[in-house]
Amino acid sequence: MKFKFAWLAAAVAAATFLSACGGGGDDAPPSQDGQVLSAQLAGSIDQATFAASVNAKGLTPLAGAPKCGVDVRYVLYVTKDPLGQPATASAGVLVPNGTDPACTGNRPVVLYAHGTTFTHSKNMADLQNDSEAGLMAAMFVGQGFIVVAPNFLGYDKSSLTYHPYLNAESSALDMIDGLRAAKTHLNGASAVRPSDKLFVTGYSQGGHVAAATQKVMERDYSAEFTVTASGPMSGPHNLFKTVSVINSSPTTCAGTPNPNCTVNAGGTLFTPLLLTSWQKSYGNVYASPSDAYQAPFAATAETLFPTDTPISDLVAAGKLPADPTFTKLFGTGGLINESYRAAFFSDPNNGFAAAAKKNTLVGGWTPKRPMALCGGAQDPTVFFFNTTDLQADLNSRLPAQLAVPAFNMEDRASLPAGPVGDQLYGGFQQQKAAAGANATALYHGTLVPPFCTALVRGFFQQVLAAGL
């Protein structure tokens, strides 16, 4: 009988083994950082059509006539959210096409971080509708660079329900994973592939992200990536000082009719994006949204952005202060509670202040590869001290041959000598004058970007030519 039961025991054991090894069971873990989830060639523009498009936008004098057309690729990839949990994000990957030798083979890569947007459907692969993508294509792809432009966590088809805005470490990782995914995709699907030259740039928020990306790449990923050069543009690098200046507005402006006289243009839009990001990342920016926001804004501010609802509709719905300058942060009818503002300065354990310090890129690191900064001294949105403070800090440690230039569109002497510098300075001043009363409103988002991008591209081309 013992023998017979042995048959039964063997059968059950075999069945159990079969169950264990034959599938089923726990779910497979999500894919690894930088892994491509899906990728596609979304469209293609030949050189002649692209050249006509660049010309129609009036970009040819700055960007030059394109030598290449553009293959528009789109990649959805895995990265991590600020809490270290896997999440997805997407990127536009703009690749040169055409027969010119500048458009074939292995091309240098520009890893580009876009500026602040409140639009959830932001997509740098939407070349037809996204003017920022169009500018990058004209400036870089037409001249033979591959542009990898992550849309960032929280946008487009990202799985994250908020955006880790101005979270330096998280944003850098998103950029790195986007680059990994783009390289994987291109090496498998494209005849034009990345060379070993890697340039990192970005504008506004993206300037901060670009600097953070270089910092994190050189600190943690030097075996995988070598930054050839970087060009952060108009970024809020000195974030603690920026937030301090804004939060001190009622004090600074005491005795004037406007308690928001030092609030940056767009402050009521940037603030919800920022507070939600840091609250989700660190958990100590407020205990409840009503700690930070005045009624009725507290009810919806935390989930306001990113959104595809027009901002005018949000204002009309009473979800943002009705203020065309978007600076009404403090005071009666403003976005932020006075007690919350005051605690930024008075509470030594203030979470908002700690987050601002944590994400400040001035101090504590030094780039190992060439960097050039750019901005405009009259910027009402990202104050120019951000650029000069970072420059001064880095140059206090860098050797002379790696000294960081800071191109200032208001200062001819800060720009490269010669006709190119003359053309860029003159062109900018001319466009600013032409904008007239709108110059302040257009300064950060429209007037400065093409000129700074042209300067940064020139810097990158110099680095390439010098073989640095």
Partner: protein, 223 residues
């Protein structure tokens, strides 16, 4: 209903003799799924060729056979419900495993046994009815990524014809070894309901033909 009638007729055929025996058996079952599914239909962001593929699973199989005569038997085949992983295909290929679900597929067979009682090794064939119930279906993290948000899954139950064939090896008058290969018609409609950005509800559907081949190896005890 047609399947039930056929099953009834087969059972009646099987019960038309005598020499009654009861056998219980237990062993391993490997469910070799050859699923075919239409592309998911119903909503962005999965516009093009988003398909799923159901993986194999192994489990403990057991059952009961009532042998009414030397040649005919009636059988209920059961198993510990296995969990099947489901992988993305086409546009979903890169997401890897996108979902999983459990299924229980009890099947009744009417069997005909070749040879006679003096033979230790006897082949048999059978036909019957399979009912498969699906439950505990859920998307993986990657599945929710692919769908665009948290997603619930619903798989409709399936009725279908089944057939199997196999060998019984009698060790003695009580103990035997049994090996079978079975096939069943298992089809289900999958509905995936996603809560996407901004609270938008996206409902996607597909029809899955599982086409399972089931291999079993068991030990039986007859009394």
């Amino acid at each position: 209903m047609k399947q039930l009638l056929i099953a009834g007729a087969l059972c009646a055929l099987a019960l038309g003799a005598h020499a009654q025996q009861h056998t219980v058996y237990v062993g391993g079952a490997y469910i070799d799924v050859h699923s075919k599914a239409d592309p998911l239909a119903g909503g962005s962001p999965l516009e093009n060729d988003a398909r799923v593929d159901v993986n194999d699973a192994a489990t403990v199989g057991f059952g009961y056979t009532y042998r009414y005569s030397d040649a005919y038997s009636f059988e209920v085949a059961l198993g510990v419900p296995p969990r099947h992983h489901t992988d993305g295909r086409g546009q979903l290929e890169g997401f890897g495993q996108v979902a999983s679900f459990k299924q229980g597929g009890p099947t009744v067979f009417a069997n005909y046994h070749f040879g006679d009682a003096s033979q230790k090794l006897r082949p048999f064939v059978g036909a019957g009815i399979n009912y498969t119930h699906f439950w505990d279906g859920h998307n993986t993290v990657a599945g929710n990524w692919a769908a665009g948000g948290p997603t619930t899954l619903d798989l409709k139950d399936s009725w279908g014809l089944a057939a199997h064939g196999g060998l019984t090896y009698s060790i003695d008058k009580h103990w035997s070894l049994i090996g079978t290969l079975a096939y069943a018609q298992v089809k289900s409609d999958l509905t995936a309901t996603t809560t996407a950005f901004g609270g938008q509800t996206i409902v996607r559907t597909t029809s899955i033909d599982f086409r399972p081949l089931v291999y079993t190896a068991s030990v039986g005890y007859t009394f």
